[in-house]
Every structure is written in structure tokens, then in C-alpha cells.
């Protein structure tokens, strides 16, 4: 319904503004008494009160509608846009250590690799690219039709390809967004494969960036919510300082938000044999919709009301009333 609901907090401003207007009305009446003595003309009082009332009413109304127009009310008439048939698909793959967890067999990363191969083999008239990320994103294979290069590269994905602390889905997605070649009429799809651990960054900004660039983000949540241990070398597992095993769990909520916000789909890779199912739900599949809805914002009518109210409050103040005030 609202594109920027946080703007509605500004409505709280109306209270102090109203209070100041009321206080100044009281002061005004007092000052009249001082100027005109204890018996001021009644019509002067009336003029002041009426003008003050209409001025304040329309001023507050103007502020109210300015804030409403800032909140970005969505247009009920959604515009349909036809999507081009050719696709660019960028895989954004989390290669943090938690992706080695074996809560789905053989490991989260291995299942992700099988998934990528499934998508590549079943999608036609597409170019593919591969972005790997940890704390930063890195273009491993730029968008290409060269399946030879792609297959070879996919098989070499491991967490040790590059070192970087922490995991940032935002960095991964930004790198993926930048990996789309510009200047072509192609549908842009990112397939984000991650366990959603340690989600840093701002998903609202990401969704905005995706929609600005007409990018659909499909998200595959890899792993189980029950979680799994993170293997190190020599059959050992990552432990906390107290000696407990570190359990890495899938965090689906932020992932679902990103997918839905960008018009993509979210699916979870947590059980065996679901590759086909997952593929069916992705935006890349051939028989998928080739239209999408564009959300538009309606602000002109609200802003018009605001401006008119502001002008009325201005005129009430400026134009003298019956030659009195």
C-alpha cells in the first residue's frame, strides 16, 4: 500500500505545530487587550479569531497532505510490462565457510552447485554469469553464453577461492547487479544461493536497487532451520570459545523479503531430491510469466491538496478582512 511508510512518523510534527499555533492565538488575544484597552471592539476580536482558525486549519491540512504525499501511496492501476524473451542470469553464490555445513547432504555448497548445473542445463536462450561472495562480491565468470567455461568454473567453487571476513549478502547482490552488461533488451535475473547466515546490510535499499534496474531476484535458501555444524579441516568442526560447536542455521525471513520485494520467488533447498521442484519455481523457467507489474506511486493529487491548503492559509493571513484586520 505504501512505498515509504516510515515517512508517516512525520505526522507527529503536527502536534507541536498545532500547540505553537494555539499558544500564539492566546498571546494574540492578550496583546489586543493591551493595545485597545479592556474593551476592544468585538468585530476585531472576531476577525482575529476567524482568521486565526482558518489559517491554522489550512496550514495543518497542508502539512498533513505533504506528509501523505511523502509516504508514497501505490497506484491501484498497476502497469503491465512485457519482458524480453532473452535472459541474463547471474548466480550470486555464498561461499562462506558455513556453506560447507552438512545439514543437507553432501553439503550446502555441493547441493548449490548441482542446482546451478540444473538451471544451466534446462534454461535456453540465456547468458549466465557467476558472482561469488563472502564479505565482498567477486565476478568469477562474467555473463557469457560460453557453457564450456561456465561448467568448468562451477565445478571449482570452494570457500578457499578468496579470503575475506564475514558474509554480506548485500555485497554479493550489489556485485551481481553490476555484472549485468548494459545496453541490451534482456531480462535480468539474479539467483541468490545462500544460507542467509549473518545477514548484514539493508534489504529495503537492495529491493529498491533491484527494481530501479528491473532485476528480478530469486532466492534459494540453502540449509535447514535446525542447522548444522561447520566443518574445518581434518574432520574437526568450528567451536565457540567455550568449546561448544557453532551451529549454522538457515535464516529464511530476510531472504524471503528480498525475493518477494523484487518480484522473484523464494524457495528452500532443505530436502533431498527437490532440484526439479526448485527449478519449477524459479523465474528463469521457460514457461514462466513474461509480464510483470510495475508499481507506480500516486502523489500529485495529495500534493495538489497540500499546495491549495497552503495557499488558502497564506491568503487568509494576507488579505484584510472587512477592513479590520
Amino acid at each position: 500500500m505504501l512505498l515509504h511508510p516510515e515517512s508517516l512518523w512525520l505526522l507527529l510534527l503536527l502536534v507541536p505545530v498545532g500547540a505553537v499555533l494555539l499558544r500564539n492565538y492566546r498571546i494574540g488575544r492578550k496583546e489586543f487587550k493591551r493595545v485597545k484597552g479592556s474593551r476592544p471592539e468585538q468585530n476585531l476580536y472576531d476577525a482575529f479569531t476567524i482568521k486565526w482558525f482558518f489559517y491554522s486549519f489550512f496550514y495543518l491540512l497542508a502539512l498533513l497532505f505533504i506528509i501523505i504525499s511523502l509516504a508514497g501511496i501505490k497506484d491501484t492501476h498497476e502497469t503491465l510490462e512485457e519482458l524480453p524473451a532473452d535472459k541474463d542470469v547471474i548466480f550470486a553464490v555464498d561461499i562462506s565457510r558455513s556453506m560447507l555445513s552438512g545439514d543437507i547432504k553432501p553439503s550446502r555448497l555441493q547441493r548449490t552447485i548441482s542446482m546451478i548445473n540444473t538451471v544451466i542445463n534446462r534454461t535456453h536462450s540465456a547468458r549466465f554469469g557467476l558472482v561469488l561472495f563472502k564479505g565482498e562480491g567477486y565476478v568469477y565468470v562474467p555473463a557469457t553464453e560460453d557453457l564450456e567455461a561456465l561448467n568448468k568454473a562451477v565445478d571449482t567453487i570452494t570457500p578457499s577461492l578468496f579470503t575475506s571476513g564475514s558474509t554480506s549478502i548485500e555485497a554479493g547482490l550489489r556485485a551481481a547487479f553490476d555484472a549485468f552488461p548494459s545496453g541490451e533488451d534482456r531480462r535480468k535475473i539474479v539467483i541468490l544461493c545462500t544460507d542467509g547466515e549473518a545477514h548484514r546490510g539493508n534489504s529495503t535499499a537492495l529491493i529498491q536497487a533491484a527494481s530501479d534496474n528491473k532485476i528480478t531476484v530469486d532466492v534459494i535458501g540453502v540449509g535447514t532451520e535446525a542447522g548444522g555444524r561447520i566443518p574445518l579441516d581434518n574432520e574437526r568442526y568450528l567451536r565457540t570459545e567455550e568449546g561448544d560447536f557453532v551451529i549454522s542455521r538457515l535464516h529464511p525471513v530476510p531472504l524471503r523479503k528480498i525475493a518477494e520485494g523484487s518480484g522473484g520467488s523464494y524457495c528452500q533447498m532443505d530436502k533431498v531430491g527437490s532440484l526439479t521442484e526448485i527449478f519449477e519455481s524459479l523465474s528463469v523457467r521457460e514457461e514462466g510469466d513474461n509480464i510483470r507489474f510495475i508499481e507506480k506511486e500516486r502523489f500529485t493529487p495529495f500534493l495538489m491538496i497540500a499546495v491549495i491548503a497552503l495557499l488558502i492559509s497564506f491568503l487568509v493571513r494576507v488579505i484584510p478582512w472587512r477592513g479590520t484586520y
Binding site: H4, L10, L13, V17, V20, L21, N24, Y25, I27, G28, E31, R34, V35, F48, K51, W52, Y55, L63, I66, I67, S69, L70, G72, G129, V139, V141, P142, A143, T144, E145, D146, L147, E148, A149, L150, D178, A179, F180, P181, S182, G183, E184, D185, D212, E297, F299, T300, L303, M304, A306, V307, L310, L311, F314, L315, R317, V318, I319, P320, Y325
Partner: protein, 333 residues
């Protein structure tokens, strides 16, 4: 460029001078005292002090600017950018670059042959805008370094990172061409070309150059061959990427012109000799002009709305004016 969703609404800006006249210049209206007497400090009509006049001026300007910002926002301002959208496919180009030690020969001053080739390649990439371009390098063996892509940023980044001798010390021309053909196999481009850049004789690899040329010809791939270097003895200097040792010496390297001509002829390509950085540049210019595809382009206009920024600015300015007049000066009306 700034555009408006409904520019006709900009006519509302014409109200501003009228309103300004009413408020500030309309003599007949008579004047009124808007401010509470407390700030006049018991004098009946003192002259406002400089600071007060300045603050009032700020408030008045804030009000008018705020109103103007809102009136502009009503018209739906947005920033628009033109986007060239290519409607047809360009050429797929794979560069096959010799990485053997002789490419370190310093007869392409100020750089060596390899660095000169990289520089010319980079310039070439920036001139093409709708072609998928990739890089294969070869020494004893050959490998794809960048698959054919239109992501030029990544392409140029990888090109910068190429080093001599990463593929061994030999010159496997046949392998280089074959690897390029393999990676152009899935391309749906109508025109596929390979540009071979070498300075030596074929002396390594399982596939002889002419067999590789035959494969290319069968796949409809044109091979342009560029022979790099001057004849005679030249000095070389390079760092072995495996050991870090600097290798210096003199070599008498010469490319096999006959072979390069034959490869080009078999694949309907062309052979070019390049003896200096300038001539290498002009070879690339030739290839650039030979390989042009009639471009069909659509101009898309991408707009980014700005009304939120204008509304916010308007709101803030109005509130500043309000705060000064109503809170600081306690204007009663």
C-alpha cells in the same frame, strides 16, 4: 536531464509573483503588526535590529523557496537518462594472445610486445560496444582467461592481470586457436572471429596450427593473425611468475609469416604484420573497421523520479519559516 511528468502544472509557479506582491508590495492593504509586542521591548514601534531583520529575511526566503519546491514537485520532476539498447547481436571476438617469454622483447618501446598488445587491446575493447569479447592465452598450453562477454569492466580487469609465462615457455599456436574455437561453440552470434597475436614459431601443443585452422574454418570462424615484432636480435627482460626471478637476455625471435598467412587464408581472415606499437594500433583499427555489423539501436529513456526530494525540501523550508516566525518571534497570525 530534468524532465517533468506533467509540465503543464509548472504554470502554478506563475502564482508566486502574485502572492509575493500581495504579501510584500501591496501598499493598499495597509500594514499590520504580526508580532507580539514583547519582542519590541516595550517601545511602541522601534526599528528592527540588523540581526532580527536578517533572521526575518531567512524566514521569508525559506517560505518562498519551500512553496516553489512544492510547486515544482507537483509537476513530477525526474531525472532522465538516455540508454542505447542494441537490438541485434554484435560480433563474438576471442583474442588469442601469446604469453611466451619472447613477448617480453623490448622492441615496442616504451613497453615490451606483451604490454603493448594489452594496451592496444584495451583501446579496442573501449571502441566496441555490442560485441562479446573474450581472451585465450597460450604458451606450452592454452587456456581460456575470460569467456566471451559484454561485461567489459570484468574483461578489462582480467586483461590487466595477465602475465607472461603463466602458460609455460613454448608457443602452442594450434592449441590457442582450438581452445578459442571450443569456447565459441555455443555462441549464437552470426559473426565469430578469433584474433591471434603471436611473435613466435609454433613449437608446442598436440594440435598443429593448420588442423586448428581447419576446425575454425568448419565452424565458420574467421581467424585474423597478427605477427608481432621486428626481425633480428632483441633484448628481453621478464619476471618468471613461478619463481619471481628476473630473466634477462637477447633473443632472435621471428614469427612464422607463412603459417600465419595460411591460417588467415584458410579461415577467410587476414594476416597483419606489426613491427611497432603504432602499426599494432593500426592493425586493430583495420580489424575494427572490417568487423562491423549494421547496428539496430533503440533509445530508451530511463527516468528516476525526484519529487520526494523536492517535497522533503519544501517541508523542511516551510518548517524553518514556521519555527522562526511562530516560535522565535511569536507571530500571532
Amino acid at each position: 536531464m530534468i524532465t517533468f511528468e506533467s509540465p503543464v502544472l509548472l504554470i502554478l509557479l506563475a502564482l508566486v509573483p502574485t502572492l509575493f506582491f500581495l504579501n510584500h508590495l501591496w501598499k493598499k492593504r495597509g500594514s499590520h503588526i504580526s508580532f507580539s509586542f514583547t519582542i519590541w521591548q516595550k517601545e511602541v514601534l522601534p526599528k528592527a535590529r540588523l540581526l532580527e531583520r536578517f533572521v526575518l529575511l531567512v524566514s521569508t526566503s525559506a517560505f518562498w523557496l519551500g512553496l516553489i519546491a512544492l510547486l515544482i514537485a507537483v509537476a513530477g520532476p525526474s531525472i532522465s537518462e538516455k540508454d542505447r539498447i542494441h537490438l541485434n547481436r554484435g560480433v563474438d571476438i576471442l583474442f588469442v594472445l601469446d604469453e611466451s617469454p619472447s613477448m617480453a622483447a623490448q622492441d615496442f618501446s616504451p613497453e615490451n610486445r606483451f604490454e603493448a598488445a594489452k594496451k592496444v587491446l584495451r583501446n579496442f575493447i573501449t571502441r566496441r560496444d555490442n560485441d562479446s569479447i573474450g581472451i585465450v592465452t597460450f604458451g606450452d598450453r592454452a587456456a581460456l582467461r575470460v569467456p566471451p562477454t559484454r561485461d567489459y569492466e570484468t574483461l578489462v580487469g582480467r586483461l590487466e592481470g595477465l602475465k607472461l609465462m603463466e602458460m609455460g615457455q613454448g608457443t602452442a599456436i594450434g592449441m590457442g586457436i582450438t581452445v578459442a574455437c571450443v569456447h565459441l561453440r555455443h555462441s549464437r552470434a552470426q559473426n565469430k572471429i578469433v584474433v591471434l597475436i603471436t611473435d613466435g614459431k609454433n613449437n608446442a601443443g598436440e594440435i598443429p596450427p593448420l588442423s586448428a585452422a581447419k576446425i575454425a574454418a568448419e565452424m565458420g570462424i574467421r581467424v585474423y593473425t597478427i605477427g608481432v615484432g621486428t626481425r633480428g636480435e632483441v633484448s628481453i627482460e621478464l619476471e618468471d611468475p613461478n619463481t619471481g626471478n628476473v630473466i634477462r637476455g637477447k633473443i632472435d625471435s621471428q614469427y612464422d609469416e607463412e603459417l600465419l598467412v595460411e591460417i588467415a587464408e584458410m579461415t577467410e581472415g587476414k594476416f597483419f604484420p606489426a613491427t611497432s606499437p603504432g602499426s599494432l594500433e593500426s592493425v586493430f583499427n583495420d580489424i575494427d573497421s572490417l568487423e562491423t555489423v549494421q547496428q539496430r539501436v533503440r533509445i530508451d529513456i530511463k527516468t528516476e523520479p525526484l519529487h520526494r526530494e523536492f517535497i522533503l525540501a519544501g517541508l523542511v523550508l516551510l518548517l524553518i519559516a514556521f519555527a522562526i516566525r511562530k516560535i522565535m518571534f511569536r507571530e500571532v497570525l
